[in-house]
């Protein structure tokens, strides 16, 4: 084995090690799903599946910045917001000029921005618990969606329903992830991690903790806007009830993806993989003909077991100084160096 490979492994581990367990599970689930559900491996099967899980993936991604920003950071209002987007598009932004992409996309992203700004400002300036604040906005956004919902399906512009099940779906979701990856190369991202880990140090070093945290919520809101677009495409109509269901699942995906709910550690890619894990678990359970009434039970149990294993494997303290995975990765890198 050449020297660079273990070094590269160590680099990957240091950068993405938090998501190691989720990735491991993902690979297993991918194989199991591909074997048991060969349709997935075809182009249409893959695209259909993709459009099904894309909203969850993006919502999990959208929750991540607020979680990373620390101090109990979380944003519960993003799921309902995606649902609100379906109502908005399905009821109002569907005809004439209003239905054009150059109107719909900025409006949806702009509303995400405003929602994030409201959440972020209340959390930072008001120094309130994010879980309580965003629970409030969760209810407000859910209420808005109900209020403006036409009651029946609604219609969406053709270009939106065409997204679902096509490569543009992959393009949009991929674009959002690439935008995030670009963000991780900014100075801001290091600030975000610093604020998330220890905001006293960050403050004493002259960072504007409030601005940095608020920006995290804004980024989350805008990602949720993208999720709202894809959700609208998926259901091809307006549905005020679909959003709230996503909230808890997306947070589970974040946790499964190895992002610390205490903040400062983890990342968006982990949440993406975590969301994929959840989708594949659901898919497997459906394939296994688990009765619909037991689905939640089975799915919840698997999730708890997975989180426990994730917690034990990824633990940074305890009997082993740096966790089993870290020790192993370091060992492999050292052996690589020695040879």
């Amino acid at each position: 084995m050449t020297v660079w490979l273990p070094r590269f492994g160590w680099f990957l581990f240091r950068r993405y090690g938090y998501a190691a367990f989720a990735t491991f599970v993902f690979v297993g689930l991918l194989i199991a799903n591909a074997v048991l559900d060969p349709v997935l491996a075809t182009s249409t099967g893959f695209l259909d599946a993709f459009s099904t899980f894309a909203p969850l993936v993006l919502l999990a991604a959208a929750v991540t910045p607020s979680v990373l920003s620390g101090h109990g950071g979380i944003d519960l209002s993003l799921g309902p917001f995606a649902g609100f987007c379906t109502v908005l598009i399905g009821t109002y932004l569907n005809t004439g000029v209003l239905g054009q992409a150059y109107v719909v996309v900025p409006v949806v992203l702009g509303m995400g921005l405003v929602l994030g700004l409201v959440n972020g400002v209340i959390v930072t300036i008001g120094r309130l618990q994010p879980i309580v604040v965003t629970l409030g906005t969760y209810l407000i956004v859910t209420g808005l969606a109900d209020h403006y919902s036409p009651g029946s399906g609604g219609t969406v512009p053709g270009w939106i329903s065409a997204i679902s099940g096509s490569w543009s779906d992959v393009g949009i979701a991929g674009g959002a992830v690439v935008a995030w990856l670009a963000l991780t190369r900014t100075h801001y991202y290091r600030w975000l991690l610093a604020v998330g880990r220890d905001d006293r140090t960050a403050y004493a070093s002259g960072m504007s903790v409030a601005a940095i945290r608020t920006t995290a919520y804004v980024i989350g809101g805008m990602l949720a806007g993208v999720a709202g677009l894809l959700l609208t495409a998926l259901i091809s109509g307006s549905d005020s009830t679909v959003g709230p269901n996503y909230t808890l699942t997306s947070i589970a995906a974040v946790a499964l993806g190895g992002t610390s709910l205490a903040g400062g550690a983890g990342g968006l890619l982990g949440s993406v993989v975590g969301a994929l894990d959840i989708f594949f678990i659901e898919n497997l359970l459906t394939l296994a003909n688990v009765p619909i009434f037991s689905l939640s039970l089975a799915y919840g149990s698997i999730l708890v077991v997975a989180m426990v294993i994730n917690g034990v494997v990824g633990r940074q303290s305890g009997r082993l100084p740096h966790g089993l995975l870290r020790t192993t990765a370091q060992f492999v890198a050292d052996v690589g160096d020695a040879t």
Partner: protein
């Protein structure tokens, strides 16, 4: 902010080209509730000089540092730098005004690299203001000027030890753009001797280049080496200014401590120990005092091949009852961990903790419950988070952990709790208007007394204390010293970790000094002569004799 200077090829020093400006402080005041932490502090720090702010804990040093660093807003007063009045409303504004601060706590971001930690105050949302190549250049130069064995800039800070983290924090101040005022709050404490000397030399250089350097310290040996002038604080007020030439230990102590004579007398009374009848212990234990002969201690706490850190040799120790044992060492060298092992609140990675009783029975400690059953009480350092129940009353804070002994049919007996608390409160002189008041209404020292009373009520065989006199006033300290001596006289094992060398030397029969997670020295009092502080200090810095 001068862009061309930022990007010019000159590697170090970053802040050497600042124009020398004096810092004029005008009647600065700050109160926390009823405590007046800083009262009308006025002084002019001249450019090109270094100063030491000396004073005991709670004298206002740290409050001053925090105000000048922009962390705390002052109630009144002015700060004028080079004739320009400064309004500090956040650390950012202080940094922009050229003030670089190392706080007493080692503030680092664990999840970031050394380099990112050093340039934590750099500006720029999308791109960092200082390009990475220059960052590396400056950081490496500064780090290697500070230490013979500096951490690599790419290392993550959570891989570093305390001393290296401290270096990172100092380097952050030195790398700060345009820094002309350096504030160092006890910042060389964790460094070893040679690095600490190098750091002081670097700051002396900066002072010579026109900066103002302000250290705070209560350690005489440090005060002597640094500082053209020593500004002494006492109870938030300036009590005197000493030139370096006129500095002597008695003079400094006199300025530092209020009514130095009476305090010293109190201290000596406490150290000489046990003159006062051991009422508290006799009443709480209900057992006759001194039943065992000195040759066979009543209780031995034994550490058998215990590892504090994987990198260090294991520790074998026997701590016997009937004496006060001190655990000394620089912060973070394993003494607190050792105390937690002894108290059963943390299980060692390797090795065993045993309790040997007079009768010969041996118990191996693995769990906190076993330690409690063996009569070992552990009083943690962090009173606020690990000691008190802040929302409960004084009486509940005293009584809850031992409530089981006093309950009837599962019901708490307030009367019985009061009866149990009364003698202890009197003995420890807990000063409070009402036992029903919230514990947070008490001063730190009195809170500590309530906590100690809490555990004395559990009839302890061994009392383990982590820095019990931290943030405690001098009168209460004397009370506590007397109590600990009494406990030892009553054949209890008393083990304490302390950061105050004077206290350990004055109080302890035996001092175990830790250095890098291993025992560096095990010193014992010979007859009446106390353990020599020089020996303890040398061992703390790893100089074996």
């Amino acid at each position: 902010m001068n862009k061309t200077a930022d990007h010019a090829g000159i590697p170090v020093p970053v802040g050497a080209d600042v124009e020398p400006l004096e810092v004029r402080i005008g009647s600065l005041s700050k109160s926390f509730g009823a405590t007046r932490a800083l009262r009308d502090f006025s002084f002019t720090f001249g450019a090109g000089s270094s100063y030491v702010l000396a004073g005991e804990n709670g004298s206002g040093k740290s409050t001053f540092v925090k105000i000048l660093a922009g962390v705390l807003p002052p109630d009144r007063g002015s700060i004028v730098i080079g004739g320009k009045p400064l309004r500090l409303f956040s650390p950012r504004s202080a940094i922009d005004a050229g003030i670089a601060t190392c706080f007493q706590e080692v503030l680092v971001e664990d999840n970031l690299s050394v380099l990112d930690n050093i340039f934590l105050s750099d500006r720029g949302w999308l791109r960092q203001r200082t390009p990475t190549a220059r960052r590396v250049e400056v950081a490496e130069a500064v780090l290697s000027s500070l230490s013979s064995n500096p951490p690599r800039v790419g290392q993550r800070v959570d891989e570093l030890g305390l001393a290296e983290r401290q270096l990172v924090v100092i380097a952050r101040a030195l790398c700060q753009q345009g820094a002309r005022v350096f504030l160092l709050d006890e910042s060389t404490a964790a460094l070893d001797q040679s690095d600490s000397e190098r750091a002081l030399a670097v700051f002396a250089e900066r002072a010579a280049a026109g900066a103002v350097v302000i250290f705070t310290s209560h350690r005489l040996e440090e005060v002597e080496r640094i500082g053209d002038q020593i500004v002494v604080l006492r109870n938030g007020q300036m009590s005197g200014i000493l030139e370096r030439a006129e500095l002597t230990e008695p003079r400094l102590l006199e300025l530092m401590s209020e009514g130095a004579d009476t305090a010293t007398a109190r201290r000596q009374a406490a150290f000489s120990g046990g003159a006062i009848a051991s009422t508290a212990v006799a009443t709480t234990s209900g057992k006759p005092v001194g039943e065992s002969s000195p040759a066979r201690p009543r209780l031995v706490l034994a550490l058998r091949a215990v590892s504090v850190d994987v990198s260090a040799p294991t520790v074998d120790l026997e701590i016997v009852s009937g004496e006060v044992t001190g655990l000394a060492g620089l912060d973070g060298h394993g003494q607190a961990t050792l105390l937690r092992y002894l108290g059963g609140v943390q299980r060692p990675l390797v090795g065993r903790v045993e309790v040997l009783r007079h009768g010969g029975s041996v118990a191996v400690l693995g769990r906190h419950r076993q330690a409690v059953a063996a009569g070992i009480v552990y009083i943690p350092r962090d009173r606020k988070t690990q000691g008190i129940f802040p929302t409960l009353s004084i009486l509940d804070n005293f009584g809850l952990p031992t409530a089981g002994h006093r309950s009837r049919f599962g019901l708490l007996g307030t009367g019985r709790t009061r009866a149990a608390f009364r003698p202890l409160a009197e003995r420890l002189a807990v000063r409070s208007p009402s036992w029903r008041a919230a514990i947070t209404s008490l001063s730190g020292g009195n809170q500590q007394k309530v906590l100690i009373a809490r555990w004395l009520a559990a009839h302890p065989e061994a009392v383990l204390l982590d820095d019990p006199t931290r943030g405690v006033d001098i009168t209460t300290k004397a009370d506590l010293y007397a109590l600990l001596r009494e406990l030892a006289l009553a054949e209890r094992a008393v083990v304490m970790v302390s950061t105050e060398l004077e206290e350990l030397v004055g109080l302890c029969d035996r001092i175990i000094v830790m250095h890098r997670f291993a025992v560096a020295a095990d010193l014992r009092r010979e007859g009446l002569a106390p353990i020599r502080r020089e020996e303890v200090l040398a061992a703390m810095f790893g100089h074996r004799r």
